[in-house]
């Protein structure tokens, strides 16, 4: 039972981690919180759902489709809500507000197109259980764990080893210096927002698969959890987002399993406050604030 709950927690936590990665990437490069991320996540879930139910494609194609649509939305978000403000060098709060605008727009749009009812994935992958000793893992849990951990590792490797990844990290470190060193920072920013939104959309499909409730307001609570993980992990720190997501997921599941479910969020967020007392800069944040932009 303990191991079983650990698996439940990891499944939940890995989806939180993928959502938080989107916030982290954008925060790292642009130093802004993208409030529309939760809604891009929700649109991703709907795109995946539509691909599976209307076009009968496999879940992997649906994931890829959601990622493409998510990335396209990310591009639009950057062009419509972020770039115009950046060019005018307005305050840091302005993009926060403009992304809130985009999030409200996306939510109303989804409400209009898909209606308020929660919809769910067809039971294609449910019912199949793998038993390892006393541990039972469903195929859905395996798919979710494999995809989210796969994405996290791939992203980690890509940021570390490839030229593009390095240019993202350089831009995150200091945008002016990166520009001076010949990195096309404008392209890097577009790329980062697209990548983050693509990841958000994939997380949407995974959460839709896990909990079978795809609806227009699902982005709000998930968005807040992603934000909490962003802060817990250390602002803009990719490893921090991964570990932070897993901690939040396990904390939630364990507070239900060994306590009372009414307090799942209270316990989880209480834990975050406690951890931030110990390490105000987040689990993996650096001591001194960097860049100072």
């Amino acid at each position: 039972m303990f191991l079983q709950q650990v698996v439940n927690g990891l499944t939940l936590g890995s989806t939180y981690a993928v959502i938080a990665l989107g916030y982290t990437l954008i925060f790292g490069v642009l130093n802004i919180v993208n409030m529309a991320h939760g809604e891009i996540f929700m649109i991703g879930a709907f795109v995946g759902l539509m691909l599976v139910t209307k076009f009968n494609v496999s879940i992997f194609v649906a994931l890829a489709g959601a990622m493409v649509v998510g990335a396209a939305l990310g591009y639009l978000l950057e062009r419509v809500a972020l770039r115009p403000l950046r060019r005018r060098e307005v305050s840091h709060l302005a993009p926060l507000i403009s992304t809130i605008g985009v999030s409200i727009f996306l939510e109303s749009l989804a409400l209009k197109i898909f209606g308020p009812q929660a919809q769910s994935f067809p039971p294609l992958y449910s019912g199949q259980l793998f038993e390892i000793g006393t541990l039972k893992i469903s195929l859905i849990q395996i798919i979710i764990l494999a995809i989210s951990f796969g994405l996290m590792l791939a992203l980690r490797f890509w940021l570390d080893k490839t030229k593009l990844g390095k240019s993202i990290r350089a831009t995150a470190e200091n945008i002016e210096t990166a520009g001076l060193l010949g990195i096309d920072t404008r392209k890097v920013i577009v790329l980062t927002v697209m990548l983050a939104s693509g990841l958000g959309a994939v997380a949407g499909v995974l959460v839709g698969l896990a909990f079978n409730a795809v609806e227009p307001t699902m982005g709000i609570s998930m968005g807040f959890k992603g934000l909490a993980v962003l802060i817990l992990g250390g602002l803009g720190n990719v490893t921090g987002a991964m570990i932070g997501g897993l901690i939040l997921g396990i904390a939630e599941v364990f507070s239900v399993a060994y306590g009372s479910s009414s307090y799942r969020e209270a316990v989880a967020f209480g834990l975050i406050i406690f951890l931030l007392f110990l390490r105000p800069q987040g689990l993996f944040g650096s001591q001194t604030s960097q860049g100072g932009r």
Binding site: M1, Q4, Q5, N8, G9, T11, L12, R79, V80, P84, F105, S108, L109, L111, K112, P116, Q117, A118, S120, P122, P123, S126, G127, L129, K136, S138, I140, V207, A210, F211, N212, A213, M218, E252, V253, F254, V256, A257, S260, S261, S262
Partner: protein
């Protein structure tokens, strides 16, 4: 170059603005239309219903049942009815506002609704104080009619339904120990849990664990994992259909195959639609069974299917009966304006033959009616024998 970029930017902003306007205008359009001039001598009945938001399917089903009955009654010509719909959005505040508007602005004769028991606890006292009869068609929690002398309901209260379903399931599946789950932030599901708790005790069953969750929760894996480890003979759940469907799906997904017994929230085709094959074997008590061999039931199902292209659920059926009960009382009272007379007429309704069976109001304005136990089999509610 810069000029062109500016043009593009302006264009995108304009498009965005237009789409926004359309979206907002669209939302506004779904509001119920304002009542026009009342037709001569028609009785004005206000309806407070959960027409948008998480439980909109309940409110929609109720609206359809009421409208079908209204059209039939108006076609017969003895009593003329006019319905004025107000959306409560499932919130107590909205239900209070809607009730006030119907009583003081629209001057209705009586009110049907609201949809949720929690809304009735908020809106009932207002109607009762104003001397306007208010009749719930889906309010099943304990103590609804204790609110006041003007509060009625024709919905099968859970205090009648749940002990029946627990007893039947115990005999049928020879249950000894059960696990219980309920949503603890909803008056209706908490009341259902208390009734279940009493019924479990009365039937001599052992409760291995009580797990809670909240409306709008989506992750039930922790609770169900815990329940699976305790190996009960059945799970008893008090929830609305949305959470109920998610619990059923998750339970079957992690290999829980024992019977799952539900409260009235399970009592909707939406449950089967959302949970799919995972709903097989779900057991529920219902006043309504569309497969019943009865001319009245068959006519109603056929008319409903012809009008809305789907099978009526319990909520449509009870709303349909409520409209007829109301029309009956209005006819007997012989008035379309005297609220007090209508109340006294309603209180004496008995031997009414509706689609949910023989019906009467008891001394406390609760229904006295029959209960059928249903089980989901091959994607349909069928009678559990």
């Amino acid at each position: 170059m810069i000029k062109m970029k500016n043009a593009i930017r302006k264009w995108t902003v304009t498009t965005l603005a237009i789409m926004f306007t359309v979206a907002v205008a669209g939302c506004g359009g779904s509001q119920s239309a304002a009542p026009g001039n009342s037709a001569g001598g028609a009785a004005k009945i206000g309806v407070v219903s959960f027409l948008s938001g998480g439980g909109a399917a309940y409110g929609e089903a109720i609206r359809q049942g009421l409208e079908l009955a209204r059209d039939e009654i108006n076609a017969k010509g003895k009593t003329k009815l006019e319905l004025i719909f107000e959306d409560s959005k499932g919130e107590k505040n909205e239900a209070i506002n809607a009730t006030n508007k119907l009583i003081h602005k629209d001057n209705v004769l009586a009110i049907i609704g609201p949809t949720l028991s929690g809304e009735m606890f908020a809106a009932g006292p207002i109607a009762s104080q104003a001397g306007v009869s208010i009749m719930g068609t889906s309010t099943t929690a304990e103590g609804i009619t204790d609110i006041g002398d003007y509060v009625f309901r024709n919905s099968l209260p859970e205090s009648l339904a749940l002990p029946n379903v627990v007893k039947k399931a115990k005999d049928k599946f020879s249950l000894k120990k059960v696990a219980v789950m309920y949503s603890n932030n909803n008056d209706f599901t908490v009341s259902g849990f208390k009734t279940f708790e009493q019924a479990i005790k009365d039937n001599g069953l052992e409760t291995v664990t009580v797990e809670t969750f909240a409306d709008k929760d989506t992750d039930f894996s922790a609770q169900l994992t815990k329940i699976a480890a305790l190996k009960p003979d059945a799970i008893i759940i008090s929830a609305l259909y949305q959470e109920a469907a998610l619990i059923l799906k998750k339970a079957r997904e992690i290999g829980i195959t024992i019977p799952i017994i539900g409260n009235n929230g399970f009592n909707s085709p939406q449950l089967i639609k959302l949970a799919g094959s995972a709903s097989e074997g779900a057991v529920v008590a219902s006043p309504w069974f569309p497969g019943k061999d009865d001319a009245k039931v068959k006519n109603f199902v056929a008319a409903f299917k012809a009008k809305y292209n789907k099978e009526p659920d319990q909520f449509s059926a009870q709303a349909y009966d409520a409209m007829y009960i109301m029309a009956d009382a209005i006819e007997k009272a012989g008035t379309t304006t005297d609220r007090k007379k209508l109340r006294d007429s309603l209180a004496t309704v008995k031997d009414f033959q509706g689609v949910t069976g023989k019906f009467a109001f008891d001394a406390k304005r609760n229904p006295a009616m029959d209960v059928t136990i249903l089980v989901v089999k091959d994607g349909k509610f069928t009678e559990l024998k």
